[in-house]
Symmetry: C2
Subunit: 414 residues, 2 copies
């Protein structure tokens, strides 16, 4: 308002206008005030901390919502991001920008604070996720068509490196399970080739590639532990998991949990579980079983199975509350209207919630006091208090799927 007042005074001070010209000056002054107010209010809107923001994928119509988790309210919607089925996002280290990976191969850069799409490249025909480097300067995308990884500068989305996933007699493999690791590295798996690769950018923008072959048939997803040390790929073509210790890549990939997978009975699998949601509480990791109505408990010191917890359906995401005390689970059809909460100490189910049909994703607020749940078929986002399990807020969203909070910017592997 100060600036607007000054402008009025300045216009009055011209001392030129006679009576007939007052109209001109008045109109000019009003325009000045109007425009300044518009800009000033934009200024006020723009001065936002970015620590409590989240991006919500609206899969059906190529838009994302930007929401804030302090008052639990919607801020704005950004459109024009293409096919967002199975989309995910990572954040710049200052948390201003989100990089959204669309299924159609589009890589979109969204300004979280201004609520604008600021850059977009169609970088392949079909992609399946991405990662941002430890220093925040590189964003990598894993592609199905053509199979490989492309790496871009985060500032202007110019291509830095193109890593075709070639194997055998020059075939391209689909790439999945792409994560960032400490030391400006990206790690990813080759579905068709049965390989894990490390692309090391520590020496500059031309990566050094390390390849691990024969890691198992058809790795379908992967995760990295929160400390960035262990990379673990799930196998679709056989039972077991492939484990790579990134502190000791020279030791190669070893197989763990030989009974983890679809097993001999060949159960129908309604939706392959996601691995990136693995919950870690103390030494225990909680893992969605494949096909079974079970959550597996793994002792991370020995990488042996430490227990199984019966749950309502086939688990999809198994997410640990940030303090490790609770593990939240959602399910494939026909149980995708429910969420179950496991006490990480007693390994008992302490609550079953029914948000509604199409619970696709859950994201905890950074210190765990609330959790956001996307309920696709109800076009809603729910916010639950994780202590009382009461619903604190309900927000409209158009077929919401993934929810990504900016606190991921400061986490390894997210």
């Amino acid at each position: 308002m100060n600036a607007a007042n000054e402008s009025t005074t300045a216009a009055d001070g011209d001392q030129v206008p006679m009576r007939a010209e007052w109209g001109t000056v008045l109109i000019s002054s009003m325009l000045v005030m109007f425009l300044l107010l518009a800009v000033v209010s934009k200024t006020e809107a723009a001065t936002l901390g970015s620590g409590d923001l989240a991006l919500v994928v609206e899969r059906a119509n190529g838009s994302v919502q930007i929401v804030e988790t302090t008052g639990n309210s919607a801020l704005t919607r950004v459109e024009g991001l293409g096919d967002l089925s199975h989309a995910s996002a990572v954040f710049s280290r200052d948390q201003r920008y989100a990089f959204v990976f669309g299924r159609d191969g589009g890589l979109s850069k969204v300004d979280m604070l201004e609520g604008q799409l600021v850059a977009r490249v169609m970088q392949s025909g079909n992609s399946i996720g991405g990662a941002i480097s430890q220093d925040g300067r590189l964003v990598a995308v894993s592609n199905y068509e053509p199979g490989g990884v492309k790496v871009f500068r985060t500032d202007d989305l110019t291509l830095v490196a193109d890593i075709p996933a070639l194997y055998g007699a020059g075939q391209h493999s689909k790439v999945i399970g792409l994560v960032d690791a400490p030391g400006r590295r990206f790690v990813f798996s080759l579905w068709d080739a049965g390989e894990i690769w490390i692309a090391d950018f520590s020496a500059g923008d031309q990566p050094v590639i390390s390849k691990f072959e024969d890691i198992g048939r058809n790795p379908y997803d992967a995760l990295i532990t929160p400390d960035g040390r262990y990379y673990i790929a799930g196998l679709f073509g056989e039972d077991g998991l492939a484990l790579l210790d990134l502190w000791h890549p020279e030791q190669g990939v070893r197989r763990i949990l030989p009974h983890y997978g679809k097993g001999e009975e060949k159960l129908p699998v309604y939706k392959m579980p996601h691995l990136e949601g693995w919950a870690v509480a103390g030494n225990l990791a909680f893992v969605p079983a494949v096909g079974r109505h079970e959550v597996l408990v793994i002792d991370m010191l020995t990488w042996q199975e430490a227990g199984r917890i019966a749950v309502k359906g086939q688990p999809v995401f198994v997410m640990g509350r940030p303090d490790g005390r609770q593990v939240w689970v959602n399910f494939a059809v026909p149980d995708n209207d429910s969420v179950q909460v496991i006490d990480a100490e007693s390994l008992k189910i302490v609550n079953t919630l029914q948000p509604g049909k199409g619970v696709l994703h859950m994201e905890f607020e950074p210190r765990g006091e609330e959790v956001w749940v996307s309920v696709r078929d109800q076009d809603e986002l729910h916010v639950y208090d994780t202590a009382s399990f009461e619903r604190r807020a309900t927000l409209p969203a158009q077929k919401p799927s993934g929810i990504f909070m900016t606190a991921r910017a400061s986490r390894i592997g997210l």
Copy 2:
């Protein structure tokens, strides 16, 4: 620039001016442009992500610097915060605001994005740190004079609760080791009383207080593990540490590491080590020994000592790189010109740096690629690459001490 162009067009479009009036319109238009540019540039300055900011305490003259860790540059200085010796800071959950706890009992609220002191209360005569609640709505300060904890609303710093640390025949105890814990709780220790208290605000702004007596003589500092489960106080009046499992407060406080402390030889202690900097890597915690030139290694599964690492001097802060692979150590006089780096796997020292006299604090960037070091006697901040150990940047600062990055906002206990 768009807004400025529009304003010119609008003024031109009035269609009133004759030749003699062009001067007026031109001056008005120029003023419009000038003012708009001024406001627009303010807009651009204000649109900052807050994820890569840090607050640096300049202890000698009551100021803080706000810096950013992507380009490693200084943004602004905020003055008027009083006595900042031994000062620390916590952040609002949106990361816009820092709450700075001064030694003189001043609680200052700093707008990190606008670079302004926006509120300040003198809440006691002598204080020693504070914490912010899990939901970000309460900020608590631990006081020496008069001994107790005061709790304020983060939005306007109005007093919510006053918790005098009364014990025995109505004496006040100094309060130290105040941390936040999940469930909207604060945990703190009473130096004179030898007690640990939990103030539980989960039911509202009137806390439920739980008291644990006879926890040991003169607790001097405390920490909470990164998952918010274990609260551990160091004891000045005897050897050993006091451990409280916040998942099971009904089990009471137990004593661990009976040989941790000054020991029978009563070594001279040049500076009591800080406990909040404990490094955690896998199951191992790395702890500054008291008085000895050693870092102790503790197995957190058994709470038994698992090893000792000889270091250059009496350790003060023992900080883990976020991926747990390295542990950085600074020292009391006369070795406070050095920093040593321990490999967390081999337990060997892999580097010794000499930043200069008066290394008071270290803070890792959130994903660990760089570390910031305050070098008080050189009036400098150093930024080191944690892989190559090269110094990447040197920034001037006035007698810098604590460095606090906004990523703490999303962490339990920080």
